[in-house]
C-alpha cells in the first residue's frame, strides 16, 4: 500500500519555481531518504506532504486520502519533525509535551511521558523550562513527541541535524521502531552513514529530477550532489 504518493507536484514561490513535476511514492513500513543539494526543494516537498504548503499543481495522497480535499483526515495520521521545535519557552518540557499531545485530544499519563522522555534521554530535564534546552535536546524532545503520537506517516526534515552520535543512534532506533510498526518515514538528510542503517530506499532530488539509487550506491558514490 502506498503511504505517500505524490504525482507531478510543482511549487513556485513568487518568481522562483522550486519543484517541477516531481513524482514520488513511499510504501507503508518503508523509510525513504531524500538527498539533494541545498535549494533543491526537498523541504518544500516534505512540507507539501505535511499539508503546510499547497502544491501549485499536481496531486498527492497520504494513506490513500487525497491531500488537497481531505486535509483534516490526512493531518490525523502525519507528524512532521521540522526545523522548528514547536516549543513554548516558558513551559517546562513536560508541560510542552502535555500541551502538544493534549491539543490532539489525548492526555498521556505521567508514566507514559516519563517513559518517552527516558527513551530519548532527556528524562532528567522534565521540569526544566524549554527556554534552556539546547538544539539537540529540542530535537530529542520532538522525537519523544513522535513516539507518543505514533503517527502513520512521519516526516523528518534534516533528521540528524544538531544531534550528537548517541542522538543519531537513538533517532535510527526510533525510525526503525516506526517502520517495523508499519508506519512510513520520509526524511531529508545529508548524512550518508546513519541514513544507510535505516533507509530502505534512497532518492536524489536535483533540479526537480528525482533519481532513485540503491542504498549501497548511495554509500559508495563519489559525490551525490
Amino acid at each position: 500500500m502506498n503511504a505517500i504518493l505524490g504525482t507531478s507536484l510543482s511549487k513556485s514561490f513568487q518568481h522562483y519555481q522550486v519543484l517541477k513535476e516531481v513524482s514520488i511514492s513511499v510504501q507503508a513500513g518503508e523509510c525513504y531518504a531524500l538527498f539533494g543539494p541545498n535549494g533543491a526543494g526537498k523541504t518544500t516537498l516534505l512540507r507539501i506532504f505535511a499539508t503546510l504548503h499547497r502544491p501549485s499543481s499536481g496531486s498527492f495522497e497520504i494513506m490513500g486520502m487525497d491531500g488537497k480535499r481531505d486535509r483534516v483526515k490526512v493531518r490525523d495520521v502525519i507528524y512532521l519533525i521540522g526545523h522548528g521545535s514547536y516549543l513554548y519557552d516558558d513551559l517546562s518540557v513536560k508541560e510542552n509535551i502535555q500541551f502538544a499531545i493534549g491539543i490532539r485530544g489525548w492526555n498521556p499519563t505521567e508514566a507514559e511521558i516519563k517513559k518517552a522522555l527516558d527513551q530519548v534521554g532527556i528524562g532528567r530535564f522534565a521540569r526544566l523550562r524549554s527556554r534552556y534546552l539546547s538544539a539537540g535536546m529540542k530535537k530529542r524532545l520532538s522525537i519523544a513527541k513522535a513516539l507518543l503520537i505514533r503517527p502513520k506517516v512521519l516526516f523528518l526534515d534534516e533528521g540528524y541535524a544538531s544531534l550528537d552520535e548517541r542522538g543519531v543512534g537513538m533517532m535510527n532506533e526510533c525510525i526503525r521502531s516506526f517502520t517495523q510498526a508499519g508506519s512510513a518515514v520520509l526524511m531529508t538528510t545529508h548524512d550518508r552513514g546513519p541514513t544507510a542503517d535505516v533507509a530502505h530506499r534512497v532518492g536524489v532530488l536535483n533540479r526537480s529530477v528525482l533519481t532513485e539509487i540503491s542504498v549501497k550506491d548511495m554509500v559508495t558514490a563519489d559525490a551525490l550532489f
Binding site: S10, S12, S56, S57
Partner: protein, 185 residues
C-alpha cells in the same frame, strides 16, 4: 489591419511592440478628440450662458436681461420690517454697491450679514434697485466645472497605462512562449 501590421514586423520584439504602441496611440487619439471636443463645447456654453457678475460690472453695463450677481451683504444694511415685506439689503463687491430687494422665503437661512451670496434677477435702472427672483447657494466657481474634466484625466491615464501594459505583455508572452502555463500558475 492587425495581421498586416504583425506580418510586417514579425522579426523583432521591439518592432512588434512599436507596432502595437502605434495602434494604441491611434485609438487613444480618437478618444481624446471626442472628449476634448466635448469639453471645449462645455467651456463655450459656460462662457456664453452663465455669467456671475459683480455689482461694479452691473453698474457699468446696465444689463436688461436676467443676470446672476455675486457680492457680500453689507453689515447694517440688512432689514425686513414685517412678514410680508421683501428683504432689503446692500450687496457690494469690487468697489460697487447695489441695493437689492428680494421677495420670497429665506432658504436655509442663507441671508446673513457679511455673507457672500449669489442673487438672480433683473436690474431696474429706473428705481436703482436689483429685483432678485432667486437666491443661489453658491457662486459658479469655474474651477468646479473644470474639476469635472480634470477628474477624468487621471482615469484616462490609468486606463491608458494599463491597456498598453497588457498589450506589451501579450507580445512578450507570445515571444517567450509561456502562454500555456502550468494550470494553477
Amino acid at each position: 489591419m492587425r495581421d498586416n501590421c504583425e506580418e510586417k514586423a514579425r522579426n523583432t520584439l521591439e518592432s512588434r511592440q512599436g507596432c502595437l504602441v502605434k495602434r494604441f496611440y491611434l485609438r487613444w487619439m480618437i478618444l481624446m478628440t471626442i472628449f476634448g471636443s466635448i469639453s471645449i463645447l462645455g467651456a463655450v456654453r459656460y462662457f456664453q450662458e452663465v455669467r456671475t457678475i459683480s455689482p461694479k460690472t452691473l453698474l457699468s453695463i446696465q444689463p436688461k436681461e436676467t443676470v446672476r450677481l455675486m457680492g457680500m451683504i453689507d453689515a447694517g444694511s440688512f432689514m425686513k420690517a414685517t412678514e410680508n415685506e421683501p428683504f432689503r439689503f446692500d450687496l457690494s463687491g469690487e468697489g460697487g454697491k447695489v441695493a437689492v430687494t428680494y421677495t420670497g422665503e429665506d432658504p436655509d437661512g442663507l441671508l446673513r450679514e457679511l455673507k457672500t451670496i449669489v442673487v438672480i434677477g433683473n436690474w431696474e435702472s429706473g428705481d436703482g434697485e436689483f429685483q432678485a427672483k432667486e437666491i443661489a447657494l453658491v457662486p459658479n466657481y469655474g474651477f468646479i466645472t473644470s474639476a469635472y474634466i480634470f477628474s477624468l484625466v487621471p482615469l484616462a491615464f490609468f486606463l491608458f497605462y494599463m491597456e498598453r501594459r497588457v498589450a506589451l505583455l501579450y507580445v512578450m508572452i507570445k515571444d517567450e512562449k509561456v502562454y500555456q502555463p502550468e494550470t494553477g500558475q
